[in-house]
Symmetry: D2
Subunit: 121 residues, 4 copies
């Protein structure tokens, strides 16, 4: 029989993050405002991996360069999970709602292949 | 009956995102480099919600202000999922690996309550 | 008669920014921390203009698209001036010092044409 | 007699930046798109200095912490100058135009002391 509360992977990750902050008494720093800044910092580090690459080079990443990027992406995800939790937001539900909204907002037949339609969102 | 777990839910979300881009022929714009920029743009929008708030105000968000933030967070998550997929990165595995690394890197007894130790990561 | 030089012009701009905030009683929001977030928000808006462009397209911008970018760049500059002032930093002097440092750090003959040397700064 | 072209401080800085890139053959990497990403990366580094500070702490920075921030601010300014130049934008003129626009857009008597009016720009 399934026990979603104890076995669910994202729930376990969230519990580890809570415990990590609790053990270090770092919760005091984790206001939503500060977590948004921490997220920004990690996105900045991620950006630095890509800034001088051509688009094509960015599609062919591998080895230690990709490993470094994998860590930055993990950091972004970690802060996004912590931020959502602090704000009481169900992250996956928010994503599902937003995709549904985008599906309505950008009818395929009207925006197909157009960067401009896309940008003007 | 058990709820789908987050791994299944994430797989469904990824499939919807793939189909969304395919139907609109937008895959051509989605190089990893461009997706990193799109992620930056969404983090910028998220930041705008928080820039003039005190930390305490950021802990008490509700109503339409929180709804707007929820959408920005969803956008960040969506681009992070798309970026991971393009790079062939298993996002949850990357997060689990990074948490394990952080647990080793910041021994609780050494860094407890210290913002400085934290920042110098 | 000589044009005012950039130092004088910058001094005038700074005075206008001070007066602008004073007249609106907005100084209370302008802690360095908040100004850094405001800067981030503007850089996010700037990024949105470029995220789906090819590098070549980004070199050929004109008309209303360029006008919009010009405004975002102005916003970034405004917050950077405000931030420097709050922190007591002489912005042009900081730039001159950093260029001198970069000239030493990246000897032309060693890094010529290499993106990798550049990234590893 | 004034010789703005040869003595103006910002003009000299721009010339040093051009020469710096030319000597290293780095102009090939400096598409506007890439410079926007480089700007983002530097703003991310700047943000990392501030993310765990209270607003009050951010007002009292000094010593080596402030020195580090001064360098990041210089980096942001350098990329903003390079970006403006590549796009043919007169940076100080753009700032002056934007301030004039803001003065009209936010009449002091209507928005005084209100963070909300400010955010809804």
């Amino acid at each position: 029989m399934a026990e979603p509360d104890s076995t669910d992977r994202l729930a376990l990750i969230r519990e580890r993050l809570r415990e990590f902050a609790r053990a270090r008494d770092w919760g005091q720093f984790h206001s939503p405002k500060n977590l948004v800044m921490a997220l920004t910092g990690e996105v900045g580090e991620l950006t630095e991996h890509f800034q001088w690459l051509t688009e094509q080079e960015s599609r062919e990443l591998c080895g230690t360069e990709l490993d470094g990027i994998r860590e930055e992406i993990a950091d972004v995800q970690i802060y996004l999970l912590m931020l959502s939790e602090k704000l009481g937001i169900d992250l996956l539900q928010a994503v599902e709602d937003k995709i549904a909204r985008n599906e309505q907002r950008y009818p395929a037949e009207r925006v197909r292949g157009s960067r401009r339609k896309y940008s003007e969102s």
